[in-house]
């Protein structure tokens, strides 16, 4: 009897696959896109290249904020704490300590994640709206502490000299390539994370924390890990902002507006999916380019658009695309091949 069962099970495992036609197409297209993006500085003008760095920063922010809110259920309004920490870590490492500026990026990401550990113990005492406000307050504390440090320019901010070895054109191109590597690593890590064992826990947690716990998922530990990972992501975004703008100011990097942008991108694109934040970031970036001259009116427009999505398209643009069933552009799911069912359908 057990023998029969185990033999049946052994054959059934070969029937579980992780790739779908859509994820094969999506992943191949992604690979081609990365190669094309790498060649871009040879093809288009510098102003556009410069704007693309901004897009990469937004992609990183949207993807990692989505891990936090979309999968972990933690709606943070304080990720700018780690944007700022990443930017200032880069300045400190590269300019004050003489670390290679490219090496300083991963170190700054690790610093952000390490600082996020004690912060998580504070923030996780709060839930829901209190968590959101609490994270904002924590980010403000980060800003106030930074202002007190004269070595990094206090309230006035600091300029970065680590990139001054490059002539201007090359500097922008190098900044672009660095940002491209970062976005590929961060978004790629998000994909691998969601595809992994831990991703299965995260997705369960996203859908129902109580049932996830009853199914053996350590909800608290998973949330904490996600919090650290998204802090690292925000830190990377901060380093890219520093490298591309060459100046770090507390009022800029710790601006709560970053959180508004992250929420907007993820809500528009589709919360709790890998594809959604990518779409949201691209749309937001295009809107930003097109409407920037309208000043604050453009922000009000974005706000209204965001509210409309929350009210009428809760799953965002990606939710509308995959309304008739799940479509994955990345191979993160599990599918059972059903031979007998296809026969029955005919």
């Amino acid at each position: 009897m057990t023998d029969l069962l185990s033999r049946r099970s052994a054959s059934s495992t070969q029937r579980v696959s992780r790739w779908t036609p859509s994820s094969a197409v999506g992943t191949s297209a992604g690979a081609v896109l990365i190669v094309a993006l790498a060649a871009l500085p040879y093809l288009i003008n510098l102003a556009t290249i410069y704007a693309m760095i901004d897009l990469f920063v937004l992609l990183i922010l949207a993807s990692t904020w989505n891990l936090l809110a979309g999968f972990g259920g933690m709606v943070s309004v304080g990720q700018q704490a780690y944007i700022g920490l990443g930017a200032y870590s880069l300045v400190t490492l590269a300019d004050l300590l003489g670390v290679n500026v490219f090496l300083a990026i991963p170190i700054a990401a690790i610093v952000s994640a390490l600082v996020a550990i004690p912060v998580s113990y504070l923030a996780f005492r709060l839930v829901g709206g209190y968590f959101a406000v609490g994270t904002w307050v924590i980010a403000e504390v980060f800003r106030l502490v930074t202002i007190q440090i004269p070595q990094v320019g206090g309230g006035a901010g600091v300029s970065i000299s680590a990139m001054s070895g490059f002539p201007r054109d090359l500097r922008i191109a190098v900044g672009y390539w660095v940002a491209l590597v970062c976005v590929v690593v961060v978004v790629g890590s998000c994909v691998l994370l969601v595809r992994s064992r831990f991703g299965l826990a995260l997705t369960a947690l996203r859908d129902d924390p109580t049932a996830a716990a009853t199914s053996g998922v350590n909800v608290d530990a998973s949330k904490r890990l996600v919090y650290l990972i998204s802090a690292a992501g925000a830190g990377v975004a901060g380093t890219l902002i520093a490298i591309s703008t060459l100046r770090v100011q507390p009022s800029g990097v710790y601006d709560v507006q970053w959180s508004a942008f992250m929420i907007f991108m993820v809500v528009i694109g589709g919360v709790g999916t890998l594809e959604g934040p990518i779409i949201g970031a691209v749309i937001f970036w295009l809107l930003k380019q097109a409407l920037a001259e309208y000043g604050s009116a453009y922000l009000i427009g974005l706000g209204i658009l965001g509210v409309l999505f929350v009210l009428f398209a809760r799953r965002g643009i990606w939710g509308l695309v995959s309304r008739r069933g799940r479509v994955d552009l990345f191979p993160v799911g599990y599918r059972l091949r059903l031979p007998d069912q296809t026969r029955r359908k005919q």
Partner: protein
């Protein structure tokens, strides 16, 4: 020396605000038992299961698993130590496929990896007749199939103690015996079962012991036929005249 019961509650109490749902509740369930629980709506049956599974902490008392105090152990710890719950109101992972729902339990509760987890998931799909829905999103399932999924997920976690909460309601005449057969085969494989059910004839087909709960109080407990025949159970739960001889089955028969 008698072996420790698999699970035991010692004067467990749970209140929601001023409402005392359970109080001074004592229960011992031996390994291999199938304990049926009946009782009117609002009696505290689901609360009892949630307290055992860890979703709701008790306000007073102690819970023991294999004689060890686990009162403060969180749900995921209990899941990993063999307690699986099928909730009365299904709680599927709505954005995941049916197969993925089961993989979560097989991976994290049973601690299996890769092919072994997949095998456990597929096995419990087959046992619950859900195989044709394997790739369907859980959100597309109707209530009855969501209940099946709830049971399948509990099975996929490879439990020692299976907690079932009203899984037979709404099933057809043919489906009830299938479900009974499933529970019987699970019990035969050595799993201890606590099953809350209003479909009393389904319970009596497998239960080795029956307990009738009424507002946190045990009305009757013991051999199923004797519990159903007890005057208090007949009056309070079955709503029958205790003087008239018992008909076969329960209120649904």
């Amino acid at each position: 020396m008698t072996p420790e019961p698999l699970v035991e509650t010692r004067s467990v109490g749970r209140s929601f605000g001023r409402l005392e749902v359970l109080s001074g509740f004592d229960l011992k369930v031996e390994a291999g038992e199938v304990l049926g629980i009946i009782g009117p709506n609002g009696a505290g049956k689901s609360t009892l299961l949630a307290v055992l599974g860890g979703a709701i902490p008790p306000t007073t008392g102690t819970i023991l698993l294999d004689g060890v105090d686990v009162t403060r152990r969180p749900s995921h710890w209990r899941a990993r130590h063999g307690i699986a719950t099928s909730y009365q109101v299904p709680r599927p992972f709505l954005g995941m496929s049916v197969l993925e729902n089961l993989l979560v339990a097989a991976t994290f509760a049973a601690g299996s990896r890769g092919h072994r987890a997949q095998a456990a998931a597929v096995d419990s799909l087959q046992r619950t007749n859900l195989e044709r829905f394997a790739n369907a999103e859980a959100s597309s399932l109707r209530l009855l199939d969501r209940k099946r999924l709830e049971v399948a997920r509990a099975l996929a976690s490879g439990p020692r103690l299976l907690l079932l909460d009203e899984i037979a309601g709404g099933l057809t005449e043919q489906e009830v015996p299938e479900l009974v057969e499933l529970v019987r085969s699970v019990a035969a494989s050595g799993v201890t079962v606590i099953w809350i059910e209003h479909v009393v004839h389904a319970l009596t087909a497998v239960a080795t012991r029956l307990l009738c709960l009424s507002y946190g109080r045990v009305l009757a407990e013991g051999e199923p036929a004797a519990v159903l025949a007890s005057p208090e159970v007949r009056r309070i739960y079955l709503g029958l005249d205790p003087e008239v001889a018992a008909p076969a089955g329960g209120p649904d028969a």
